[in-house]
Symmetry: C2
Subunit: 330 residues, 2 copies
């Protein structure tokens, strides 16, 4: 069987089962969450890695090298945010064609360092290889603030909890559409879409706020709302109902993409907002404490159907595409 | 300027200078050693990353997927060995063409897990991406045994110290020659060369023994003896003299490659032995305590000339090639 038939998630499940037996006594979370976690001496330690590959994760020529650096790091910091952790150190593995301009590589680092400094992250190592294409693989090491603190996982959602999300959705996918299809918008919309696609801000402070307020379950929105919520359902062995009318579509996306905006918000991906679950009183506490919008979009229910979309009347709503998965061609 | 003009080491120096200011108070070693190191609560923490890219680090078709898995992990564990540390956790970032067989990916993991279990390493996370070629990027997290222990760096060599190396050299390069040029040898030599090239054993126990016995400076032999010793010279701001007659060329390499064997041992690379320096009495202690051969091959001297090769009469000896550097075409 080819990996394209099994799909990314199927392959991860298979490898996680192979690896299972090698877990050690300090390990809290292995393969299958936003980051791995183990008990350190004074706090929980976190580690995550993500590759950012030319023509796969980013189309050639749509972003500057500086934007690429920012985004490659942001995507990784977002995984630490989704665990409720503080990012601390980064290791950067670069694969570069040999005719790459040195100035482009320093611009890439300028973008990474700009974000790293804002979030108190130090780049402490890495390696550089020759390759036929650009690939940026970043490892982030982080931790919780102190020993007593819990981490946010994908596997703690319980029926009866509400499903909520930070910020607005769809603008990153709108940005990708705009950049790859060379769509024209007014300057304000252009800036909004481009910023969302190339310059995302990982929700580090919000992730910690969620943990502080008693949230147990979260994931960052990288593949798309439906796909990522499905991950929570699978890991927690529950299902979820999402009311499509409550999904906080970014107003600029709604204005410019009208009917397509819902699809961008539900399955466009790369918003790097946090999707989380909690009892109503927990979500209320989060709403009061958070500086960004928090929107309840549905609830966790029993069963193994995964994510169901419903309209305002409670009738099932069908959307074809369900998020980004590597290998599987749609 | 292209990265091919600046070269891998020049690019690393440039990026290390850019990153410099982001160092944090706990960081002991940032970019430029075998691994990054920082002070943890009960021991020194170590992290290293290395990519293993098809047609760059390994020629397609010369190794099985299982061998590839072993070697990709071994190369990374070797960096922890060179710091005198214990490897603990691994994160694996895989880039794979979509027509890759699932069985090949599980064979890759079988190879990694075989080595990981032997060395007490747990694979705790990673990611998988579609890509036009195979790339395996592994991050290893490790630590020293306890708080008081020091780590081995590249930057502590002092004039008057001896230069020594574990094991024998040249067999891995002989194996690469054999596999890529389809050379024929008797079964014993074939097994020796293939084993050295595809199934290296990282010198974890030896790295800790070096630290225990008071060695301060070490590097693992990945690029080749001369190139890697040059790294020690550069980081320590010293020079080194190597007596070519003392270089422990693997006997099987000497037998099969005669005159070329010295070049394979000096600049072939990938032996993953440890090269280290220390005062004569320290090296003597290491010799008595080590289970593997320890050979003194030269000495550290003052000056900034880097590595000088001398013959048995002390006359300069010239060797054209000086080890593997990415981007620079020879």
């Amino acid at each position: 069987m080819k990996v394209s038939e099994l799909g990314e998630f199927g392959l991860i499940d298979l490898l996680a089962r192979m690896v299972g037996a090698s877990r050690d006594e300090h390990l809290l979370i292995g393969i299958g969450d936003d980051a791995a976690a183990w008990q350190g001496d004074t706090s929980i330690q976190l580690a995550t890695v993500d590759s950012f590959i030319q023509d796969v994760h980013f189309p050639s020529g749509t972003a500057s090298w500086q934007e690429l650096g920012w985004k490659a790091l942001a995507v990784n910091l977002s995984d630490i945010a989704a665990m409720g952790g503080l990012p601390r150190y980064a290791l950067v593995s670069l694969a570069l064609p040999k005719d790459t301009e040195v100035d482009d590589v320093t611009a890439l680092y300028t973008g990474m360092l700009e974000l790293a400094r804002q979030y108190g992250v130090a780049i402490i190592g890495g390696d550089i290889s020759r390759a036929p294409l650009v690939a940026i693989t970043i490892t982030i090491l982080g931790n919780t603030k102190n020993r007593g603190e819990h981490i946010l996982t994908r596997s703690a959602a319980k029926p009866g909890e509400l499903v909520a999300v930070t910020g607005g959705l769809g603008a990153a996918a709108a940005g990708l559409e705009m950049l790859t299809k060379k769509l024209q918008f007014d300057p304000q919309a252009t800036a909004c879409f481009k910023g969302a696609s190339l310059h995302p801000y990982p929700r580090i402070a919000e992730g910690q706020l969620l943990a502080d307020q008693g949230v147990k379950t979260a994931i960052d929105l990288s593949d798309g709302l439906i796909s990522d919520l499905n991950q929570i359902c699978k890991s927690s062995q529950v299902s979820a109902r999402v009311e499509i009318d409550r999904v906080p579509i970014e107003p600029m996306v709604k204005a410019e993409f009208s009917e397509k905006s819902l699809e961008l918000a539900l399955s466009g991906g790369e918003d790097y907002e946090l999707l989380f679950t909690g009892r109503a009183e927990v979500i209320d506490r989060v709403k009061r404490a958070a500086a960004c919008p928090i929107t309840v979009i549905g609830e966790i229910v029993a069963g193994r159907e995964g994510v169901t979309l419903v309209d305002s009347k409670g009738n099932p709503f069908n959307l074809g595409k369900v998020g980004w998965e590597h290998f599987i061609t749609r």
